[in-house]
């Protein structure tokens, strides 16, 4: 056993030496969600980046499909949200793709949620609570401060994997940080009028967005996390909506709009479909466009 593992280590080292001996090759990056593909593109514009999902796919329920195994097999870096968001498919991809470089966060595996404090961590989890995440809400990419921390850590990871590109990664991070920090006060000013407003939303997908701009999600279209809206639950939401203090019903681009539309019609409330990620609508072509779009869509219903 020992001899075997040593042999494998020697082989791995030999291989990595061969790789670094080559001319500066671009990293192959596998992103679990489009927001992390977009963030990686900001930080490593020349890398080959592949996003496993689109903004129209629920990242909780992704098939560990052949194309993803093939892409992960070739990846130097895997960037995911973490906090168990991908627990139903990422371990299977890691097992099937036989790529030792992306198995450990010491090497080419990066979880955004590991870099920050998540909201809504739970001390104990029971399935009767629905499909909840003990490690907190994983949809962190709508918090600009947290996302900037993630960007800094991701840039360090890129440098660790590709030391030859260190200077370029440093420049890209500085550039992104400047633009992001300029945009943040602008977004906050634009969202000022939304502060204190109440919404009904689907899942806790926009937990960080609402936390940041001061919107309160007073009810959830899901009766329990991960469960689709039921007619009984929608009826109870209608009773809540009739109190008259709700601004809008918010769903993400990958969520079924039927329950929201029914409630919207009955309660005479606007339904807003927000892009869950980059690519979720025409104006969300990068992270800046995504933030611009969600704020302007929410402002549109005031």
């Amino acid at each position: 056993m020992h001899i075997n593992s040593n042999l494998a280590k020697v082989a791995a080292v030999a291989l990595s030496i061969t790789y670094t001996g080559l001319a500066h090759a671009e990293l192959n990056v596998f992103a679990c969600e489009p927001e992390y593909a977009a963030l990686t593109k900001e930080l490593a514009p020349t890398a080959n980046i592949y996003s496993a999902t689109t903004a129209f796919q629920d990242p909780h329920q992704v098939q560990a499909r052949p194309s993803l195994i093939a892409k992960m097999r070739q990846a130097d870096l895997v960037v995911c949200a973490g906090a168990d968001l991908e627990v139903g498919w990422l371990p299977m991809l890691q097992m099937k793709s036989a790529n030792a470089n992306v198995r450990s966060t010491d090497q080419g595996l990066f979880f955004a949620a590991d870099q920050i404090e998540t909201l809504d961590k739970l001390a104990s989890v029971d399935r009767s609570m629905g499909d909840v995440h003990a490690q907190g809400n994983p949809h962190i990419h709508f918090d600009p401060t947290r996302l900037l921390k993630v960007a800094t850590a991701l840039s360090a990871k890129l440098t660790q994997l590709d030391p030859a590109g260190a200077a370029a990664y440093q420049t890209s991070l500085a550039d992104f940080t400047t633009r992001w920090q300029t945009a943040m006060p602008r977004w906050e000013a634009q969202a000022k009028g939304l502060q204190g407003k109440k919404v009904i939303a689907y899942h806790s997908s926009f937990r960080y967005l609402f936390n940041w701009i001061g919107v309160e999600q007073v009810a959830d279209l899901e009766p329990k996390p991960g469960l689709a809206p039921t007619s009984g639950h929608l009826a109870s939401l209608l009773a809540r909506a009739e109190q008259g203090d709700i601004l809008a019903i918010v769903v993400a681009s990958y969520q079924d709009e039927r329950g929201a539309k029914w409630l919207g019609e009955k309660a005479n409330l606007p339904v807003v479909v927000l892009p869950m990620s980059v690519g979720g609508n025409d104006s969300s072509q990068d992270l800046f466009g995504l933030y611009d779009s969600v704020i302007s869509l929410l402002n549109g219903v005031k």
Binding site: A11, T53, T54, R65, M95, K96, Q135
Partner: protein, 393 residues
């Protein structure tokens, strides 16, 4: 088949399950992923070669434990509790280690594990959309083929998914019947080769197709012995519960495909899957068979085609049609048999972790265990608790 000391082992597993510190979503050194699958049913009949008798019953109750052992190895144990004729048996379905750090897309798995031939075989029964495996699997692979052995697998560094592997197994459960225990079987009885390719078609669909070959050194039918009476023959067949294959041959060829579709590739609300497999088992006739006793076809074959549509997050419906076309040795000559199964199922999923299924099976047999025109209704629940296992495509 390993039958452990049931009482002691169950207690040990129960203790492991109860220990609160072990409950965790993630597996790590101190937190192995632990899961249990509960499976019970009531049905009005029994499908031939299946493991679930009629009336009330428990299907496979699984207890699984897995974790990374160190940076080089991953390990998994799956114990299956089964009831047979009033006896509780604890069987090991999986107890394997797998390398995690081999270079260049290679990996080795050793121990007891599910063979990677075909599409369904490497999947656990509780993930199936029907109560029993298709008749082709029950006839040729004993439902699902797991065994003690070793596998070398390779994944190519291509954008089109391409994997291939070779396996060697003990092959005990695929040995030809040997009623008198006089036959000398080879210790390493089964070798397999397989290859799969797959990819996406746009954002909405994904596919995979595979070819497999299984060499069974012990698959040739044991010659009939002249002094044997029909009574003895029947007596031996009666109590033979196991995961053993009923029809064996030296060479088995398989082809499989699966296609999945979801609107925008979003599987949460609606999705469709279509899959099919074909198996052909040949070279089973005894060497000293008189030419006039030769079977009408010198191969067994079986196939199925199935489709499952999940139309809301809570409901899915499936249809499946399967056939097995086999030759059975009776005295000194072969009888041709045929079984056709048409099935529909409707399942309700209260969450991702619980399923209640209604299934109707119509069987049409020719010379097959006395089945001519049978109807079977099944109601079944399958629920999992503990760690959220990742599912295969």
């Amino acid at each position: 088949m390993t039958v452990l000391n049931t009482r002691v082992s169950l207690v040990a597993l129960a203790c492991a399950l109860i220990s609160p510190s072990l409950w965790a979503e993630d597996s790590s050194l101190t937190n192995p992923a632990i899961s249990a699958v509960l499976n019970g049913y009531y049905q009005t009949g029994e499908r031939p070669l299946a493991e679930s008798p009629d009336g009330f019953g428990l299907g496979e109750t699984e207890l699984a434990l897995s974790a990374n052992i160190d940076d080089m190895f991953y390990g998994k144990v799956t114990a299956v509790v089964e009831m047979h004729d009033g006896d509780t048996e604890l069987n090991l379905e999986e107890a394997f280690i797998q390398t995690m750090a081999m270079p260049a897309g290679f990996s080795i798995r050793g121990g007891r594990f599910l063979s990677d031939i075909g599409y369904l075989n490497n999947q656990h029964l509780h993930t199936d959309s029907f109560t029993d495996r298709p008749i082709a699997y029950r006839a040729f692979l004993g439902g699902h083929y797991f065994d003690d052995g070793v596998r070398l697998n390779y994944v190519a560094p291509t954008d089109l998914y391409w994997t291939m592997g070779v396996e060697a197994f003990k092959g005990e459960s695929l040995r030809a019947a040997d009623e008198h225990g006089e036959r000398e079987f080879k210790n390493v009885g089964v070798y397999t080769l397989y290859s799969k390719v797959g990819g996406d078609i746009g954002d909405n669909s994904s596919w995979q197709a595979g070819l497999s070959y299984l060499r069974n050194e012990n698959g040739q039918v044991t010659p009939h012995e002249a002094h044997e009476t029909e009574d003895e023959h029947e007596a031996v067949e009666g109590h033979d519960h196991s995961h053993a294959a009923s029809y064996t041959g030296q060479n088995t060829y398989g082809a499989d495909f699966v296609y999945k579709w979801a609107p925008n590739g979003n599987y949460k609300y609606q999705n469709l899957s279509v899959s099919g497999e074909y198996f052909r088992v040949s070279d089973f006739t005894p060497t000293d068979l008189h030419p006039e006793d030769a079977p009408s076809k010198d191969y067994h074959q079986g196939w199925y085609l199935s489709s499952v549509y999940q139309f809301t997050p809570s409901w899915s419906a499936g249809v499946r049609y399967g056939e097995a076309d086999t030759q059975e040795l009776h005295d000194d000559h072969f009888h041709e048999q045929k079984l056709k199964e048409s099935e529909v199922s409707l399942a309700w999923h209260s969450s991702h972790f619980s399923t209640v299924r209604f299934q109707y099976t119509h069987q049409n047999g020719t010379n097959f265990d006395g089945i001519e025109d049978d109807n079977i209704f099944t109601i079944q629940y399958i629920m999992s608790l503990g760690a959220h296992g990742a599912h295969q495509f």
